[in-house]
């Protein structure tokens, strides 16, 4: 009787019921399980694709150590460069905040030039351009302008990242309320004591997260040094991958090994950076947040909130009282 007639009107109802059951089921699966499933599917698809492209895992295995051995070069260049970059950024930011025309002008020139030109250009400028300037000098000094690829890399990365980080440091120092400076002054502190004991320790809370990001970015930029033709003893994973891959026509396999290493390094340092962030926010957040938001954003009901500060994220527990944060000198 109404079987045919009822069918069209019933069908959407059935689908709706099915859909709502699926939604219900979906809500019952833990977030972590779903997220893991998505990643597994992504990797499976990539593996399928590589398999179809005749991916040579045997070659990868036999060349794995050759490529991986370059990792220490990556870490070495990044660690040394971030050290000098931090010093340059500190000096640069104090210069930008100075009332002295010479220091202000010098730091202005520095940040403008090194932020205004590409890193790769700076690398070649220092590597191939500097010796030309050296021609103007006599011999013991002339050779000072001839830098090895690794030293060039360290100099260029330090200068370039130091220029960018000058802004980070400047913003961090400015984020400390003026009342802090006054309180330090009222105790009779000198400029150095004020900076060292009061302003910078508080500025570092703001400075550290984006500096961590800069370090992570820098680890990846160390690969650019390869373009100067580093000797094999100082070759990083990227250079080793290009050398080995080109020789055997196994570019994909070689670069996947190198890329995976960079990826792992950044993942590890991102983890430590978040730990460090939680530590330095001591005294600013009522309870130091134990939970860190998932990369995909917090699931509904998770008691964490993120606020963005100068490019990085600070993790904090939602405040029950309005004065929990920033009461000082507000």
């Amino acid at each position: 009787m109404g079987a045919e007639a009822a069918q069209p009107s019933e069908a959407p109802g059935r689908w709706r019921r099915l859909w709502s059951r699926a939604e219900e089921l979906n809500q019952r699966i833990p977030w972590a399980v779903k997220l893991t499933a998505v990643w597994v599917v992504i990797f499976l698809l990539i593996a399928l694709l590589f398999n179809a492209a005749k991916f040579d895992t045997g070659w990868m295995r036999s060349n794995f150590w050759f490529i991986s051995r370059g990792l220490w070069v990556t870490i070495f260049i990044a660690v040394v460069s971030i050290f000098f970059a931090i010093i340059l950024a500190l000096l640069g930011s104090l210069g930008r905040l100075s009332k002295n025309a010479i220091t202000y002008g010098l730091s202005g020139f520095y940040t403008s030039f090194f932020r205004g030109t590409p890193l790769i250009v700076q690398l070649f400028l220092i590597y191939t351009g500097l010796p030309t300037i050296g021609q103007a000098f006599r011999e013991p000094y002339r050779s000072w302008f001839l830098l090895s690829p690794i030293v060039t890399g360290i100099v260029a990365l330090s200068l370039n990242y130091g220029a960018y980080m000058t802004e980070i440091f400047r913003a961090g120092i400015l984020s400390v309320p003026h009342g802090q400076t006054e309180a330090a002054e009222a105790l009779g502190m000198t400029y150095r004591q004020r900076m060292g004991r009061v302003v910078l320790p508080q500025a570092f809370r703001v400075i550290i997260p984006p500096t961590g990001n800069e370090f992570i970015a820098m680890m990846k930029d160390t690969a650019l040094v390869s373009l100067l033709g580093t000797p094999i003893a100082w070759a990083d994973p990227f250079r080793r991958a290009t050398l080995a891959g080109r020789a055997d026509f196994r570019n994909l396999e070689a670069l996947i090994v190198a890329a995976t290493w960079y990826w792992i390094l950044t993942a590890i340092f991102s983890f430590f950076q978040r730990r460090l962030e939680a530590r330095v926010s001591k005294g600013f957040v009522r309870q130091v947040a134990a939970k860190v938001p998932r990369p995909g954003g917090a699931a509904p009901g998770t008691p964490t909130a993120t606020i963005s500060s100068g490019g990085g994220t600070v993790v904090e527990v939602p405040e029950p009282e309005p004065r929990a944060l920033g009461k000082e000198g507000a």
Partner: protein, 258 residues
């Protein structure tokens, strides 16, 4: 009420013909006053009358345009700063304790670390040596049990008491209070005033207090100074001010706040 000990005490702090302008705005128009050892002076007046500016000029947080500050043999005039003058300013600041309206505690340090920061950093006392002093001072402001708390975990009143202890730790000759209770919730004002009263009556601390708390002034001040449009209009004992003022401006102000 009035402690006779201060009356014949020697002059500790002398402000002489102090002027301060911000651009075209002249905030202080020639202030002269003496503060004797052990004396409690309350400065009051409408906001914008220059009270806070005077206090900030005394320890050179603000550079006076003209005039002289003299404390314990350290004499300083307003105007251009050079290296020698900066050093002198530092000496002056080490002898004055300042309490701010916004407390300005160091948020990255615990209560006791805040208190001993001055002695440790400025005077070079070792941390181990300074700690007993810090504990004692926190006890005096009633916060011995909060020594290891960070400022964010303390109420406004507690923070201000830590700030008082921090200023005391430098063993200053004079304490300057810049509206110490203005940023506090009403129920927290009492504890800070009680601490200040204790400083005045039990520790015989020399104090210059900018405040609107007229009850505190009546009870604790030896002398009250009324500021009006950058000049001292009137000064006298609380009794003089509250009961026998000749100035309609003072009368009007008192009527407004009482």
């Amino acid at each position: 009420m009035t402690d006779p000990a201060w009356a014949d005490g020697e002059v500790l702090l002398r402000v002489d013909d102090l002027h301060k302008s911000f651009g075209h705005l002249e905030v202080l128009k020639g202030i002269s006053m003496d503060v004797r050892t052990g004396e409690v002076v309350v400065i009051f007046g409408r906001s914008g009358s220059g009270k806070s500016t005077l206090l900030r000029c005394i320890n050179f947080l603000e550079d006076p345009t003209r005039g002289t500050i003299e404390l314990h043999g350290i004499q300083l005039t307003g105007g251009h700063r050079n290296r020698a003058k900066r050093e002198k300013i530092r000496k002056l600041r080490m002898r004055t304790g300042m309490v701010f309206q916004q407390f300005n505690l160091f948020p990255h340090l615990t209560a006791i670390q805040n208190v001993i920061e001055g002695p440790v950093t400025v005077k070079g006392v070792s941390e181990a040596e300074a700690r007993p002093l810090g504990t004692e001072l926190l006890g005096r402001v009633g916060l011995a049990d909060k020594a290891d708390e960070y400022p964010i975990r303390l109420s406004g009143g507690q923070q201000q008491r830590v700030a008082i202890a921090r200023a005391l730790a430098m063993s200053p000759d004079v304490m300057l209070f810049d509206e110490p209770t203005s940023a506090l919730d009403p129920e927290l004002i009492g504890e800070v005033l009680a601490t200040m009263r204790y400083l005045a009556t039990d520790m015989h601390m020399t104090m210059v207090v900018v405040t609107h708390e007229m009850g505190f002034a009546r009870e604790v001040a030896h002398r009250m100074v009324f500021f009006n449009e950058g000049v001292i209009l009137e000064e006298g004992t609380p009794d003089d001010i509250f009961n026998r003022t000749r100035f309609p401006e003072t009368r009007r102000f008192l009527d407004a706040v009482l």
